[in-house]
Symmetry: C2
Subunit: 651 residues, 2 copies
């Protein structure tokens, strides 16, 4: 059989299985899948260099399905090829029976790509649109750095390419000259609720790509030869390339084409009709009823893995001295964001898997101390002002085994919350660092202040990830020693962490011997009247409040609750030793740390008096930290007044 | 004096004031501001049709400063022109003294554009980059609909144009043929930490705009005549136009040009030097020491405002009958998302200020019942798969006095959280509707499920907006009557609301006479042993649990807590009448409703037994609601078992 006939026969076989799978599941996106039948067949059976029995082999090409809802076509191919699936202890070649378990609760064959549920063919969970090309860029960066001769293919929907993140990723690919990443735009002309805009036509997508400096191959996405030629060409060119493919949504089955069939499976008579239409098409295209030829999948290059060993990182004081900060060390003050930069550089020097990413504020987050180190620069990715892309690139790096630290202002990380959640679903071992958190940056005003951030990340800390750990640890170092140590702790831990750093220079509270651990806290002052709980910058304000209270004869305990989640029993124990009186002080909106303590209190069943001080208005600019603290009712004097009221003094 | 000399003289005067202002404030972004000196002078003194004494006059041109950090140049012009500033009761023409109060706590002259602090020249708070063009698009849409002959100018930084949202906005402008919005790209070549990428060079920005169908004018942004010509041309062409201006960061003051001066004011000797350099430049460019000529600001067209009066909207049953759903009404079941669509259409017919926006899922959110109504279609904006742009367009519409309802899957709204917070800072009266919230959509899996959303919006509910109301109300209707009524309630209320709707068809719990109010809840079953609190879809599961408990002789109270914040006293009162036992059940991650109840409990100082059931793992696909509920431990039987354990039965 000719190449064309082989591809048509196989594509139609997969298409028919897709229809069956979606009918079994009662949902799915069969028509999007059918638009990819030929592209996926040529790619997975004739184009990609990979091993179905070992899809994660280091030099294997990878496929990121950005338009995750089209996944049934990939499942169909994987079932046909016997691709290895399953969680540890239950790994096996995929079968057609597996495919028909699509979307079952106990099945690995999830509604959208979901590697952590036992489908390692994929590197990342997708389905929230527009993120795949950035993930592919991260995989491409890692492969280039590791000198792995592999290609990352990424399939993107036309409607999906309206997402700005796609264009952030395109700029990033061109900036980084990542010729090992190839985007394939699947232009099937239909979105979910309507035809796609003319702004997402194959012509316009092509023009936009060319304007951005990408070499474009426009093809008919159902022409096997054209697809193969385009694939061969991009493999030869040392430039960022993209394939723009015109396809038909519901190809081969006219009865389910056009609008109205986006998320709907054909069942019963409609299913029979659609499969018959495909069958008829197969006869006309293959001029034969014989089965397709066996696939000839190109093999990946043999790979001998190199193991890097991380050295132990030096401590904060030593790092300060090594980096010409001995005199600064002696001043006893250093901003937590600077300590982060120092730790990042130390880490980079100790561990070759550590990467840093930043979004044009590396001189504010101090990621620049990593970026500007000549030996570390190759592991720094400047992501420019495009936070969504940065997060998904980090997820791609993590999928390739790297430990990426992504930083920007904590406020601007919000731009990537959807990407962060998808990274969590992907099991990505990423570290997020948000600088200028809370209100202490003062002068720039609310557009630069992270205020609901703790609440959002705390939500992730209330559930467990696929490894059984909290979905995220939130870390708020109060001094440079803590920031430095916690950065090292993050690197050791496998899972997502979010660290808030702060703008102001602050006094040292700790030393090199203080041990910081996820889930722990530090007691800074032991009293008996009241437990004050704070974190980050506000610990210093609470420290001042403790002194004011002392003058009033009130003996307060101060806890630096640098981690959420935390050891609730130990904290409540302390509260009990302070008359059950708790005051939580934080520099962000509520539903955050104070609320976490409220959860702990009510969970314990014991009675506590809990008061929460947090930002309760939209802040504005102020020239000094003192002014903004007063504006938000969080000045030391205000904290002390509240504390005194709680213990019944000075009311 | 010639036009050029007049502009140079004025621009330099403003530039010098900018340097003084930033020196006074001790921060600011003077060099970005100086790159805009000529553009802003030509625009505000010779181009825009507006009235400094009444900047919000309906037909006045508007200026959105997307690169908010460059705001000192606008302040300088406003001080020079005596633009009206100030909150109600303190409105006055701005002075140079006002300008020098930049970033003071008590000043209206905030660090970034901040209309709600008393600077109505701006429509939107900016400073988190990439959002301005979308806001401008919303203003442009409203102006076109209201037949107001005005233009919306939007200044965007070159580094900022890396944000994907800018390109979402460009596609939207072209889709909507919004020729009354003009983007001006300020290409000063420097970002914060580095030179901008070649991907953001004026050439490449120009090519990208042309690829997207925009007519581009490339100019020297310090050439007064070139600027004026470009402004005149875009005013004549009935196409979407953009001006790409090459500028110099720190123009006129070589001593502060180049990298390292992004967020830094010149002070002391450096300030004197920079001002001197500008002074010298002024002499060479104006060949004269005389002051600049008086500005000739084109006046806006006279405007006679038309007042539309909203009619009272009909009730749910009547709306169902009017829209041919009488037989569906009789089934006693209707999804909350459908009820939202119905209410939206009713609202649109009753109130000409109501708009609807959606992001290619209008057939899932049921915004299509608005969009497909011929009389309402002109007030529907299809935003395609670009949620960031959708939210900021809504903020622009709100700034123009409209009441926009923006809907998509609750999960995908996450893409716009940064934009939502900026809209909150802008005082935008927007209504957000997230469908398919929680886990009840089952089959599509976690990439489509909103899980930390309640925590994030709840954070906004813990503070107050500029009107003194909660920053956001979170609404979770449990049936169609509630969804319908709460949609009408949202329209009546001036402020931000977030409504979660759910995929499944659910039974009616209420009727047309039930009254729903922000901050309230409904008691569905009155017992005495235990208070079960839930909302949205989970109310139905709790209802089943109540029946199971009844069989065990447990008499539980069920509250439908459809609003956050809520009447805490009333809720705790109910808890006290139920032995102080509370069980909160929700279909999302924690830090959410249960945590809000924990806050209320601990705040009261009384002792309660509070148990929280929420999603504690990353869900995956399941084919049925029953399966996914069991997977997440939230099935009626699991709720009943937990409840029984709390009251000490069946342990």
């Amino acid at each position: 059989m000719s190449f064309e006939a082989t591809v048509h026969a196989k594509a139609i076989q997969l298409d028919q299985l897709v229809l069956d799978m979606c009918a079994e599941a009662g949902s799915g996106h069969p028509t999007s899948a059918l638009s990819l039948g030929h592209l996926v067949t040529v790619l997975m059976y004739h184009g990609m260099r990979w091993k179905p029995e070992d899809p994660t082999y280091p030099t294997s090409d990878r496929l990121v399905l950005s338009e995750g809802h089209a996944v049934p076509i990939i499942y169909a191919a994987c079932a046909d090829l016997g691709v290895r699936i399953g969680r540890e202890g239950n790994q096996r070649p995929m079968t057609v029976a597996d495919a028909k378990d699509l979307r079952r609760a106990e099945s690995e064959i999830d509604g959208h790509p979901n590697p952590m549920e036992g489908f390692p063919f994929f590197d990342a969970a997708t389905g929230s649109l527009g993120q795949g090309l950035s993930v592919a860029a991260g995989l491409g960066l890692a492969a280039r750095r590791d000198d792995l001769d592999k290609r990352i293919w990424c399939i993107i929907g036309d409607g999906e390419s309206r997402e700005g993140q796609i264009w952030e990723a395109v700029d990033f690919l061109v900036d980084q000259r990542l010729a090992n990443v190839t985007a394939i735009f699947n232009c099937n002309q239909y979105g979910q609720s309507d035809k796609v805009s003319a702004q997402q036509s194959p012509e316009t997508i092509g023009k936009k790509l060319e304007a951005a400096g990408v070499m474009v191959f426009q093809i008919d996405g159902h022409d096997p030869r054209a697809i193969r030629e385009a694939i061969e060409k991009v493999q030869k060119v040392d430039r960022v390339c993209a394939i723009v493919a015109r396809t038909v949504k519901g190809w081969g089955a006219p009865s389910i084409q056009g609008g109205g069939w986006h998320g709907k499976p054909a069942t019963g008579e409609k299913l029979r009709q659609a499969k018959d239409e495909l069958g008829t098409r197969k006869i006309s295209l293959t001029s034969s009823l014989t089965a397709a030829e066996a696939p000839r999948i190109p093999a990946p290059k043999p790979h001998a893995s190199k193991q890097f060993v991380a050295r132990e990182a030096i401590g904060f004081s030593q790092a300060m001295k090594d980096h010409d900060f001995a005199s600064t060390l002696a001043t006893g003050r250093f901003a937590t964001r600077r300590a982060y930069g120092l730790a990042l550089r130390t880490l980079g020097q100790a561990n070759p898997d550590v990467w840093a990413l930043d979004a044009d504020v590396k001189n504010s987050t101090f990621a620049e101390w990593f970026a500007n180190d000549r030996t570390l620069a190759p592991r720094y990715a400047e992501c420019r002002i495009a936070e969504q892309n940065m997060i998904s690139v980090a997820a791609g790096l993590a999928a390739a085994g790297k430990i990426p630290f992504a930083s920007t202002f904590a406020k601007f990380l919000t731009r990537g919350y959807d990407q962060i959640e998808m990274a969590l679903n992907s099991g990505a071992n990423i570290k997020l660092v948000g600088s200028h958190a809370g209100i202490s940056l003062a002068s720039d005003g609310p557009s630069q202040m992270a205020l609901p951030d703790v609440a959002w990340f705390r939500s992730l800390s209330t559930m467990t990830d696929h490894r059984g750990n909290p979905g995220c640890y939130i870390l708020q170092p109060s001094d440079a020693y803590a920031a430095y140590a916690l950065t090292l702790v993050m690197a050791e831990y496998e899972g997502m962490c979010y660290m808030r750093t702060f703008r102001p220079e602050v006094e040292f509270l700790y030393n090199d011997r203080t041990v910081f651990n996820l889930g722990k806290f530090e007691v800074l002052n032991e009293g008996r009247d009241l437990l004050i709980v704070s974190a980050g910058y506000m610990v210093h304000e609470c420290n001042k409040a403790i002194s004011l209270l002392d003058l009033q004869g009130i003996d307060a305990t101060l806890v630096d609750l640098y981690s959420i989640p935390f050891d609730t029993d130990a904290l409540l124990d302390l509260a009990n030793r302070n008359g059950g009186n708790i005051l939580v002080v934080e520099d962000n909106y509520g539903a955050a740390m104070g609320s976490a303590v409220a959860d702990a209190c009510t969970d314990s069943g014991d009675a506590f008096t809990l008061h929460q001080m947090h930002v309760r208005r939209i802040p504005k600019s102020a020239r000094t930290e003192e002014e903004i603290l007063r504006m938000c009712g969080l000045h030391a004097s205000q904290i002390a007044a509240r504390a005194a009221k709680i213990v019944g003094v000075g009311v």
